[in-house]
């Protein structure tokens, strides 16, 4: 049992230290998130009431795109240098190692986006009541994005120009998360109870946590052979 946990944490630690040595890659999705949100007032209107009406949706869509952008990195580098094949050859169950990689990936891409979101809420004049559900919802939602995205990333890992294809594959799957995420914020802004919506979002996250690592591990076995 110790070796199982050992392998799990070793993968997380390895991925985190690799990410720390490429800080530029770490910041890029974050800047992308910031720039996309900056384009909104420029493209539509700087008027606070109009911005506030759009803020939940715009922040969620930008967060979705930012995590999508980073998804390519989940398996790509490890595939290129051969360490992914080593992971697959190891005696530990592959889904566990894939889960470790997903968690590490979320920690370096999803979590910064979550922590950054209140700032963007502020510049889009999101009403005060919306901040907590935005943080909570994005924390759950980006986890689902990473989990489901891992399946797509695994399928396209060996393909040239897989990144556009990857977005095509996973974006339709993100629809429910986007709907529940934005409406949690919207309900809070409108002074309604958002607990139920957040519970659904949490259920989707738990469900993805249960199934996505298996699907991604299976997809990896197929994707590598392609």
């Amino acid at each position: 049992m110790t070796s199982l946990g050992g392998a799990f944490f070793a993968v997380i630690q390895r991925d985190l230290s690799i990410a720390m040595r490429h800080r530029g890659d770490l910041l890029n999705p974050l800047f992308f998130f910031l720039i996309v949100v900056t384009l909104v007032p420029l493209g539509i209107s700087p008027e606070p009431t109009r911005l506030a009406a759009m803020a939940p949706g715009m922040i969620w869509i930008s967060a979705l795109l930012a995590t999508l952008l980073a998804l390519d990195n989940l398996f790509q580098a490890d595939f290129a240098d051969g360490s992914l094949v080593q992971l697959m050859l190891s005696p530990e169950p592959l889904w566990l190692l894939v889960l470790a990689k997903i968690i590490a990936h979320w920690l370096v891409t999803g979590l910064p986006v979550v922590l950054f979101s209140p700032l963007l809420g502020m510049i889009l004049s999101l009403p005060g009541a919306g901040f907590l559900p935005l943080l909570l919802g994005l924390a759950l939602g980006t986890a689902v994005f990473s989990l489901l995205g891992a399946v797509g990333a695994a399928l396209t890992v060996a393909l040239h120009k897989g990144s556009v294809l990857l977005s095509l594959l996973v974006m339709p799957l993100y629809v429910p998360v986007l709907i529940f995420g934005t409406s949690a914020v919207q309900r809070a802004v409108d002074g309604m109870n958002y607990g139920g919506v957040m519970a659904i979002l949490a259920a989707v996250a738990a469900f993805s946590l249960l199934l996505a690592p298996f699907a991604a591990a299976g997809a990896l076995k197929v994707g590598i052979n392609g």
């Binding site: 399928l155 294809l165 339709p172 799957l173 629809v175 429910p176 709907i179 199934l211 699907a215 299976g218």
Partner: protein, 245 residues
């Protein structure tokens, strides 16, 4: 039973068996669709409010039925192919994807044409329309994925995984879009399909739905047979077939 099961998995056996079904399916689809079209377009009574424009229902509804059913056919075939490693199921799955996408597109397109005289607009963000659009995107993703692998075996496996993930997601997507629509429902347009259709209108629709099912089965068989021939083109039986023996 198991012997039968394994026999079914043999592409060659399936190719020969299916050639016996083809004429019957073709006959059934032609008879049913021609009957349904003539009955629906010429003899069914006019709708009290929509006039003649409602008649597009005879294409729209069967296409929508099969667009959704087609996804489950594809996912089920993919699952069978993955679990029992049956090559034939993989081929059915690959054959079902473009067919389903085409039907989804027809459903959306006829819906848009129908929407213009009925609601005065080609497109509204209604729950059902939006769900269909997402379904089309799911199909497009699978087709795009299937085109990007160099070997057909790998491509089928990859698509099967994606189709299964999509299948788990479809009910969630449908529920969420439904719920999203009730939040944002525009008050001016009320969408009630056809809660109480007159039997004279409903009977031709039933014929059309049956006809579309036969047509779907026919095209699926033809697509699968093409896929079989392409994949097995190096085997002796296909070469003999091509040589006309």
């Amino acid at each position: 039973m198991w012997q039968w099961f394994h026999k079914l998995g043999s592409p060659r056996w399936f190719y020969h068996l299916s050639s016996k079904f083809l004429p019957w399916l073709a006959l059934a689809s032609v008879v049913l669709i021609v009957t349904g079209v003539v009955w629906g377009l010429a003899f069914a009574p006019q709708d009290a409010r929509q006039g003649n424009s409602f008649r597009i229902i005879y294409i729209h509804v069967p296409a929508s039925f099969l667009a959704l059913a087609g996804y489950y056919v594809m996912a089920a075939a993919g699952a069978v192919g993955m679990i029992w490693k049956i090559k034939l199921a993989d081929m059915v799955m690959v054959a079902a994807a473009p067919l389903g996408a085409a039907l989804t597109f027809i459903a959306l397109f006829t819906g848009a044409i129908w929407g213009k005289p009925t609601w005065g607009t080609y497109w509204i963000w209604d729950a059902r329309i939006t769900s269909m659009l997402v379904l089309l995107f799911l199909y497009i993703g699978i087709i795009a994925l299937s085109r990007s692998f160099s070997t057909r075996e790998t491509s089928a496996r990859a698509c099967a995984i994606l189709a299964l993930v999509g299948t788990v997601n479809i009910p969630i997507i449908y529920k969420s879009v439904d719920w999203w629509y009730t939040l944002h429902q525009p008050a001016t347009i009320k969408l009630t399909g056809a809660p109480s259709m007159h039997p004279d209108m409903f009977k031709p629709l039933l014929v059309m739905i049956l006809g579309f099912y036969c047509f779907y089965a026919l095209v699926l068989l033809l697509n699968t047979r093409t896929e079989i021939l392409q994949r097995e083109r190096r085997t002796t039986w296909v070469k003999e077939l091509a040589a006309g023996k």
